[in-house]
Subunit: 351 residues, 4 copies
Amino acid sequence: MPGSSFGTCFRITTFGESHGDALGVIVDGVTPGIPIRKEDIQQHLDQRKPGQSAVTTQRKESDTVHILSGVFQGTSTGTPIAMVIYSKDMEPGAYDPIKDLYRPGHADFTYEKKYGIRDFRGSGRASGRETAARVAAGSIARILLEREGVSVVAYTLRAGNIACRSIDERVIEKNPLRAADLEAAAEMEKVVEKLAEKGESCGGIVECRVRGVPAGIGEPVFDKLDALLAHAVLSIGSVKGIEFGAGFGAADMTGSEHNDWMDESGFLSNNAGGIIGGISTGQDIVFRVAVKPTSSISVPQKTIDTSGEARNIRTQGRHDPCICPRIVPVVEAMACIVVVDLFKYQEALRS
Amino acid sequence: MPGSSFGTCFRITTFGESHGDALGVIVDGVTPGIPIRKEDIQQHLDQRKPGQSAVTTQRKESDTVHILSGVFQGTSTGTPIAMVIYSKDMEPGAYDPIKDLYRPGHADFTYEKKYGIRDFRGSGRASGRETAARVAAGSIARILLEREGVSVVAYTLRAGNIACRSIDERVIEKNPLRAADLEAAAEMEKVVEKLAEKGESCGGIVECRVRGVPAGIGEPVFDKLDALLAHAVLSIGSVKGIEFGAGFGAADMTGSEHNDWMDESGFLSNNAGGIIGGISTGQDIVFRVAVKPTSSISVPQKTIDTSGEARNIRTQGRHDPCICPRIVPVVEAMACIVVVDLFKYQEALRS
Amino acid sequence: MPGSSFGTCFRITTFGESHGDALGVIVDGVTPGIPIRKEDIQQHLDQRKPGQSAVTTQRKESDTVHILSGVFQGTSTGTPIAMVIYSKDMEPGAYDPIKDLYRPGHADFTYEKKYGIRDFRGSGRASGRETAARVAAGSIARILLEREGVSVVAYTLRAGNIACRSIDERVIEKNPLRAADLEAAAEMEKVVEKLAEKGESCGGIVECRVRGVPAGIGEPVFDKLDALLAHAVLSIGSVKGIEFGAGFGAADMTGSEHNDWMDESGFLSNNAGGIIGGISTGQDIVFRVAVKPTSSISVPQKTIDTSGEARNIRTQGRHDPCICPRIVPVVEAMACIVVVDLFKYQEALRS
Amino acid sequence: MPGSSFGTCFRITTFGESHGDALGVIVDGVTPGIPIRKEDIQQHLDQRKPGQSAVTTQRKESDTVHILSGVFQGTSTGTPIAMVIYSKDMEPGAYDPIKDLYRPGHADFTYEKKYGIRDFRGSGRASGRETAARVAAGSIARILLEREGVSVVAYTLRAGNIACRSIDERVIEKNPLRAADLEAAAEMEKVVEKLAEKGESCGGIVECRVRGVPAGIGEPVFDKLDALLAHAVLSIGSVKGIEFGAGFGAADMTGSEHNDWMDESGFLSNNAGGIIGGISTGQDIVFRVAVKPTSSISVPQKTIDTSGEARNIRTQGRHDPCICPRIVPVVEAMACIVVVDLFKYQEALRS
């Protein structure tokens, strides 16, 4: 349970604080004999890194991945792949002004209650920077899944009260919001920039679609495919909810509306989101993720200091007015990790 | 990963199909020296059992629990507590008419794809009856939590398009929907009965509130308190989504609206649902669960048989027109199991 | 870690005290579609059961197995197989004389220190009777292994200072010691009977041989094949040591004596016991297990009572003067469980 | 099961090949608020490092540890501690002569069978160098144990057919064999040097003693203290056996000889090695480990190449004629890791 590992047959273990020397991940259970190129990993890390546009933080971090083990002559050996991202440009005193304050929406208070001690440099282990390790691990999982014909894509479905009105996955990488609708993206961008000017932030919804998973993946009872995806996705900071297929909308449907009927051609609808009884149906797996507004804002807020006294706080620095576009690759990474683990276990079960 | 176990320091392992000889659970990691009375377990099982009212199935099942181990002279010994519920009234031929059909909304199709074989008697392992084992295990977890001053309560918040307009926990056990608002409950009941007459079903939303958890419970990164609750709750059949605190509503809020400010008296709001950075804040933990309409309905539906041919199906038998009131004790049970596990791990971490 | 589960892809979870209502096991991860006959399980339980000869206890226990789940129409469904053995002939007051005494060599003292409470009826959870659940689970593992061409056989190699002088596996079931040498077995029998008359017991060595495991099974580093076998076998009560291949003899060898050379025909020796670097070589896997003399003896012994006062104790009742023949099926069972788990994981890794 | 993690409440995950860029470990579950000094870790690594004397390899490796996370201002934060040791002085072509040969006693053959691919540079993941990560992790465990009054010490008990005739722990670090008897150590040294001159190696026995563990540590059934120690120790390369207390000697004892009697002063003997029923008795925990002779020798040996053809091999390079003194700190490290994990779990169980 020390919560830095995830997965059974394909298991990742991460480490690192936002302002420590490095963060990284050990990926264990990688199929041997698979070509692993550093560029494939770096490409996904670059999607997550800050400083990409006006809607994300202007901080510059290179997030360059180093592979320390498990790859020999460009090929996975089957032994654990360790990847490390070293930190740069530490300004040691930068966090001193807030080291005695609990920033609203941040885990400062809860970490101190849990551990009795807190690494106050930039959220420490609770920093969003921790997700870089997930993205690196997810890119290994993705390489394995692609060999099975599985693809995973996520995008911003809603941000700043603006929703995509259509879904065109080809435009996701063509707008700073990573929205699936260029027109809506332009509107979102305006809203987010206006909020950013005021020192504010907004939340949104990210949708993820997994294609190519055959029917039969997922374990009944506690390790249902949707249960593991929920675990994986809710473990990402800023995520406050998840729903599959019709999701919360199912609450207001009748049985005959919600049940996905079949005929010789297969399923006639996908209200279940591609998962029934915790097991894939062979249809697309579809889920949506609620993302809260970034906690770091520069408007004045009420809080207390570590001695319990009331204080006003105004966080400085470069933050993401909307975290959705940077959560997109993290959601994809976690989905890849869950699916490849269940694929591998299915082989174990049937053999 | 064979998915029949859940938990780390407090671990449950279940078995059993709906129409097998028995179903049950082994609960390992129970604190020794705690009084365990069979009646405390039975009381929660009775909440889950069918045949309680017109809005749930009319099947009669006694669901009597037998404790086979781990309790000596009325007290837990620290060794695994095994509990079994034997099945009764098997009508062996009852499921023959559907044994070659995949019932819409049910896991018949996915189980067969997964295993290449299916126990077609009443959904087998995918039956809602499996949750009796969770409720039995959860009642042990609840006994441990009560000693820490933690209470867990869930109720139907919405069903058949009717929402509770106020929350009064004292009325939950006084209406067949287990709703928290008697007036709304009466309306829900009418809607559900009308749907039942037509052979239809409806979904709903169940809300759960955990009180008394001190700040500091939950593990960072992958075993966040909300991530484990999501895993636990999404592993319950018929659940299609979960949200914490403001949940999906957070998507449309700004940072200053969503951040929970503090002053000397503590937190001034609870949009986070009592969890920040995956760790409890000391406030109430609040989450909501999307429940799909029961799949078993008696209106004619399109499906295929095991040879892939199109067929019409009309499920007979006594089913739940709305499963929410029977999911309530299961949600509570899973929440208890997660929280006690994290409490125990916190002791391990700090020692 | 609550220690009642073992295995990853093929996982068993046991419960039960010697004088509780029942003991049993849940076996999760069983390949679906495999014929499972109750008789195959019962046959191995009968090997373990007491009352087989003068060298084992004269207690009569039928140890009849009941399969509660996971098998449908004689075939595994892939869902957990729960097996229960109900207890009979409880004499509730039989253990009263020793309930305040710590029997030498027994876990009475350590359990009470651990839990602060003790089920004093016949060793409770620490009873050898617990191994019945392992044997039942092992027989399922064995059925899976036989399909892969793997066989597992153990036998008494030494008992009461008498060693087998040759190994003939065909005679194992033809002598009450389960020794692999009929002549030596006859001598062992005499020694053991003489000890039994004096109320004494003796220890021995059990050897196990696993045939048919292809090269490549076992995980490097922490889950080496020999490490998991050691874990599995040392978890059996009364076992005080394990050695592989040349074992402790290797301590006095040189590198050129110990290294197993190869030529075109394969390995020229097997000092490694079929495992190098934690991975099977394709040769027979061979290990030996040190078994301590049964703790229950009727000669007078010194001990203390629960208040710490010195006392004399003379255990009554029917006990095993030499436990080796009854440990043989347990060692086989644990070996089967480890090997099938690693087989399954190898499929996961390579896929 | 991908075998690079070990432990439940205190969990380590390692990575790295002998000639990769680095090897290291993530230690999760460390108590927060504990002073962690790099020097305490380095001191144990220096015990393991090569080049210490004529009886160990003359290779020079600095094995300098870098702490990348989990320690802030000299104190553990409760988040994972990642430690890395970078490799130096790689001679890339050095292993070319043997890259198509399976070195006798090495894991070359089994790794290739397992993975279908092999990192042939200096044994890759199967190298003894992997144990540096264990020693680093073990030193963290040791710091935690010292606060509980637990100490762990191991020493060479036998090497090159010479046994210690008395045990004096003060001399262990005063002789290159790490033997507990200076006189015997001098004899061992002569034997080992003579073997080294001939290009040969020898095995030995390492004994380990854990003091200060109170009664009650260890989980019944599968996670017995001795079972976990056996798992941990057998997972060290070159180890071929383990025995506790009287160990294999117990096979030839009677019950009254072996049972450890008690009086008001406590136990009167320790044949059990401080563990009964898998749980600590409060006495010293004592076990012995069989170490095989180092596989790397420079006498000519028979083997095959990767195409299956017979070949002669004569390994060059600087190797350990007796690995015992370098295994001593690794055995201690693994013992520390097991014991601290069980201590932590005991807190979870009782809370």
